[in-house]
Symmetry: C2
Subunit: 377 residues, 2 copies
Amino acid sequence: MATSPVPDTGRSSDGEPARHAAGRRRGATIQDVAREAGVSRAAVSKVIRNAYGVSDQMRARVEAAIATLDYRPRVAARAMRGASFTLGLEIPQIGNDFHSVIASAATEVLAETSYQVVIAPIRDPQQGDKALQSLADRQVDGIVAVAPLVSTDWLDTLAERVPLVMVGRHDVSTRYDTVAGDDESGAEQVMEHLVELGHRRIAFLDVDRRRAAGKSYISPTGRDPHSIRRRVYHEHMGALGLAPLVVESLGHMEEDAAAAVSEILTSGPHPTAIFAGHDTLAVGALRAVAAAGLDAEDVSVAGFDDIPIASHPLISLTSVDQQGYAMGAEAVRLLLERIDGRTEAVQVQMPTSLRVRASTRPPRSVEGVRPEPGDDR
Amino acid sequence: MATSPVPDTGRSSDGEPARHAAGRRRGATIQDVAREAGVSRAAVSKVIRNAYGVSDQMRARVEAAIATLDYRPRVAARAMRGASFTLGLEIPQIGNDFHSVIASAATEVLAETSYQVVIAPIRDPQQGDKALQSLADRQVDGIVAVAPLVSTDWLDTLAERVPLVMVGRHDVSTRYDTVAGDDESGAEQVMEHLVELGHRRIAFLDVDRRRAAGKSYISPTGRDPHSIRRRVYHEHMGALGLAPLVVESLGHMEEDAAAAVSEILTSGPHPTAIFAGHDTLAVGALRAVAAAGLDAEDVSVAGFDDIPIASHPLISLTSVDQQGYAMGAEAVRLLLERIDGRTEAVQVQMPTSLRVRASTRPPRSVEGVRPEPGDDR
DNA sequence: GTGAAAGCGCTAACAC
DNA sequence: GTGTTAGCGCTTTCAC
C-alpha cells in the first residue's frame, strides 16, 4: 500500500514520464516498480496482494520502490483479472434521509475492510435496472441495492453474475439476500396509535407509483414495503368500518407530498390524521399542515423510518423506527459473507418500534387520552 | 447500446457459457458478438462507440447480435484503453443536505450525457486525499469534489492526472477549476441582519476543525468557506466593538452542534443570536434552543446554504442561499469542458442572498424593528 | 522463493 | 468500409 500522501510525478526512475494524449501524466505501473526494485512484475503483484511466497527482503525492496514511485494499482486493470475490491451501493434517491442513513452505515462497516464503496444514484426511478446493470458493468465485487423497482426475476438473473443483497424488499429468492423492516407490524402500530388517539378520518399518503414509475411500472408483488403498509392501512380501516382515503403524491420528494396534502386540506372536510408511507412524505405533509395554519390537533401526521429530523423538537414527528442504520450494516455484512462464498439465501427482518412524538395528538373534537408529549431524545 | 431490460445468460451462440471461479456466469464479450454477427471485434467496437466507418448493414447485424447476447461492454476493459465514461463525485459526508443538493444537480446534468456518476463518500475527514486518490485509481474520466480537506499543492498534482473541479474552495489554481459561493458577502448579510435586529451578543458556531481533522489537519489557507465566514464574523464584531464568542462543535453533524449549543445555553448568560457556519449546524442549534424551551426571541439562529429543510415552516431557518443546485450543475459543466480539452482554469463565484425567516427575531429585551415574518415559499 | 508467459476485454492504429 | 495487430496494467498458472 502506498503511503505517500501526495501523488507523485509518476516518473519512472529510468525514463521519461509516461504521458497521455491530453498531456496528462500517467502514474507508475507495476512494471516501473518491478524495474525500480529489480524484481519481476509478478513479485510486485504478490507484495501488493499480500500473497504467499515473498521473502522479507524482497517485500522491503518492493515497498520501497512503491513508495519512491508512489505507485498505485489501477483498479480497472485489477478488475480484469481478479477483483475490483469495490462494492456498489445503489440508492433510489440521493438526498433521501432514510437512504442516507443506510449508505452511511454501509460506508462505515466497509471502512474496516479493504473494500471501497461507490454509490450509484438512480437518475430515474423507471431505470432502476439500468443503474444496477451499470454497477455490474463496472465489475464491482458485490451490490447492495435499496428497494429498486425491478422484478424478482430480473434480480435473480443479475444475482447469477454478481453477489447481491436487497434492502427494503421482502422477496424470498434463492439467489440473493434481503434485509427489510417488519412493515406489517410497523404499520399496525401506527394505525393502532392513531385509532387509540381517537382518529376516525385517517388518510394514507402514498406515492402514485404508477405515475412515478411511468411506462415501465413493475407490477406490485404486494411484497414491497409500501404495498404492505398500505394494505395494513386498508385492513384496519376496513375492520373498523371506516372509509379509506388514499392521498397520492406525484413523487417521493417532500414538496410532492406537501402539494398533495395541501390540496386535500383546502378542498372541503379533511382527514384528522395522515399516515404517510415514509418520513420524507410525512415531513412534506407537516409542511402543508403548518402552511395551512393547522397543527397536530387539526391534522396529526405519522411517518415511517424515523429519519434523524423526525426527532427534531420543532418537527417532532411520530414515526416507526425500523433501524435503518442496522439494516445498512447488516446488508453489507451479508454481502461480504456472500462474496466469501455463502450461497444459501438469507432473509433478515428488522423489528420495528413506534416513536410517539408531538405530531400525533387526539383530534380537537375528541376527548381522547392525552399522550405524553415525550420526545425520545 | 444494449436494449434488453433483462440480463441474459450470456451464453454465446456457439459454445458453453463462460463461468467464473465461484460458478458465476460471465457475460458475452465483444468477441462473442463479433462471432455472432460474423464481423471483426473492431467492427463491433466501432458500432458501440458510434465511431466513423460502419455501414448501415453491418451496424444492423451487430446490433442484432448485441441484443441476442445481451452484450454489455465491461467498463474496466474500456477504461484500460480509452475512457471509462464515468465521472467521480466526492462528497465529504453522505447525508449532509447541502452536499446532497450538489450531488443531485450533478446527477441530473449528467443524465443528459453518456457519462455515469459514481459517488465516493469520504469515510474519514482526515482521509480526503485517500478518497480522491481512490477515485483516480478507479480511472474515472474526471472528478468533482466538494470541499476536500487537502492542500492546493496536492490538488495541483492530482489535476495533472485527471480533470478536476472543486466545489466550495476559493483556490486560484492554474490546473483545476473552482465553484464557490460568495462567502464574504453572504456572511456580511447575516451579520448585518442580526445587528439590525438589535443583537449584540452574537456567537459564531463552527466546527472545531483541528479536532475534526485530527492529526492530518490541513493548515487553514483562510480561503475556505468556513474560514471566510468566521473572519467576516470577527470583523463585524470588532468593528462594532463587540466581544466575539465562537462556539465549537465537535463535528459537522446536527447532534454535534446541538450538544455544543446546549452547553452554552445552560451555563450562565447566553448569546441572543447564533450565526452557524452551515445549515446542518444551524438546525442542530435550533434543536438545542427548542430543547431548552427557548425560542427565536431568546436565541435567534441563522445558517448558511439554505438547505431544503430550512424553508420548512416548522423550522423556518434564516439562511444564506448560495444556490447549491446551480453550483453542482456548473461544476459538472466545467468538468465536461475540461474533459473536452479546455486547459485554462476557471473560477466561478455564485452570488448569495439572505433568506430571512422566523428563526431570527429581535431579542426580547430590545425594541427593534420587527421583521416581516415572511416565509419565502 | 522467484520469474516468464499467457491472457482478461477492449480500443486505436493501420493495413487491406 | 472492414479486418488485423498490438497493446492497456494487472493477475495467475507453472516452470525454474
